[in-house]
């Protein structure tokens, strides 16, 4: 099956492991993903917080570009926030002719146009469980994940509020649970499975964000999860990269690796850990994966470019260019 693909900014870099593992499992399942040419950022929540019409127009440029390309009637977005912004913009343009007219006036300044309803935006999980199906996934499993206890974490935006229809229960979704069982994993109870990971709150109010992250880690630990599986780059970053900070803040000692669902699919399909981007997580996944006989690579060596000793390891700022 052929789709357009909207990776979003996270999958280019911080969630590169999600991108790689998505590509690695798409191929054997017969999913063809063609990246939307020259897509731009979806605006996250930040753009919408400051100026609405430019924010909607920013998102609509992506819809217009998708509509121009082959198989652009279905766009797959692996990031829940991108998925939400794209589907919401299409839906609101359909609901509000006035908004659609303004957005199209803005798009026209760049020689583009978008008719609402042209593009159906799909989350990658939806495509895998509903278009491909559990049986087809099961048929590809060569190394079942027997003995691995996973906590399936959905987060907020994948089934809420469902601007182009919901594919799973908004309060207690189960599609990821079923997918993990299909891979042979044991799914543990995870009552907080749709609770918020804190989103960008880590930048705004750390105590608030850390408390939300702590609850999720505690819930997974209470049910003896070996690993938390996610389907959103923001959730992965918050639960993984901030786990150490959260431990320091609350004097806790959680060590729960946070992997993308596509990474576990890949392992069950017999794809190498390295190809799936395993090793890029902060919380070492090797002890958990050794339970299923997977030898994950050593954490990655520093790449390119030496920096001066006094220089902080920070990216260069656009202003300095």
């Amino acid at each position: 099956m052929k789709y357009s693909y909207y990776p979003g900014c996270s999958l280019e870099r911080n969630a590169i492991a999600y991108h790689r593992s998505a590509m690695a499992v798409a191929a054997p399942l017969g999913i063809e993903l063609a990246e939307i040419q020259d897509w731009n950022c979806c605006g996250a929540t930040e753009y919408f917080s400051v100026d609405l019409l430019p924010a909607y127009s920013l998102v609509a440029r992506n819809l217009a570009l998708a509509a121009q390309q082959a198989n652009g009637d279905q766009v797959v977005a692996p990031c829940s926030a991108c998925f939400l912004n794209l589907s919401k913009t299409d839906r609101y343009m359909a609901d509000s002719p006035e908004l659609a007219r303004k957005i199209n006036t803005a798009l026209a300044a760049g020689g583009l146009h978008y008719d609402p309803g042209t593009v159906r935006v799909r989350h990658l999980l939806d495509v895998i469980v509903n278009d491909i199906g559990y049986d087809a996934v099961a048929a590809k499993v060569t190394k079942p994940l027997h003995g691995l206890q996973v906590a399936p974490y959905y987060g907020c935006l994948i089934v809420r509020p469902g601007y182009q229809g919901v594919f799973d229960d908004p309060e207690y979704p189960t599609s990821l649970d079923k997918l993990m069982r299909t891979l042979g994993a044991k799914v543990v109870d995870f009552p907080l499975k749709t609770h918020c990971c804190g989103g960008h709150m880590t930048q705004i109010s750390q105590p608030t964000a850390y408390e939300l992250i702590r609850r999720l880690l505690k819930n997974a630990a209470d049910y003896d999860a070996d690993v938390i599986v996610t389907l959103c780059p923001m959730c992965q970053l918050n639960l993984d990269a901030f786990q150490g900070e959260v431990n320091k803040y609350f004097k806790t000692d959680y060590h729960i690796p946070v992997l993308y669902f596509t990474q576990l699919m890949g392992l069950a399909f017999g794809i190498s850990a390295k190809e799936l981007g395993i090793g890029k997580e902060f919380v070492d996944a090797r002890p958990a994966l050794s339970k299923i006989g997977v030898e994950a690579p050593e954490p990655e060596a520093p790449r390119r470019r030496r920096r001066g000793k006094k220089e902080l390891p920070m990216p260069s700022m656009p202003e300095e260019e």
Partner: protein, 193 residues
Amino acid sequence: MAGSATPARVATFLEEVIAATPGDPHLELCLQCGTCGGSCPSGPDMDHTPRQLFAMIAAGLKDEVLRSNTPWYCVSCYYCVARCPQEVHITDVMYTLKQMAIREGLYRESSAAEVPEFSETFIDLVENYGRSFELGLATRYTLRHHPLNVVKMAPMGLELLRKGRMDLTPKRIKGLDQLQAILAKARELGGAA
């Protein structure tokens, strides 16, 4: 409302909020049931629960509403929206209130006064590159507003770099001129609703 017979009747604050929100936000249908606040992960940190805020909007308490930190603590998780019995577009109303607070300068008086700068830093990057550069964004924002935190967050930045999860410079899209023309036009057109 208000039963005013003068032709130049000024819109109530409730009407103003509704008019500035794309689509039909259903705000006038709020039952004050409190489901939204009870579902909200940020509830404990908010000056007012969403329910209280909506009562204040209906009561016309514009300045108090725009000084509240509540919209800025909304993380856009859509819990409330999924549960509201009246289908109030709560998250969208929060976006509208943020914009009004910026326009009136009142956000500076809330305890979340720095949050708009975070968003603006993000927007700057998107407008100049077409893609965001989330970790660069965090760094730039931190350098500017919480310089002391840079030292605290540096180990995480280093680790992200080491794992190839952070770019040193953002990516620039090819159609940047096109994007900038679209955004400029959108800004010129003003409100979204």
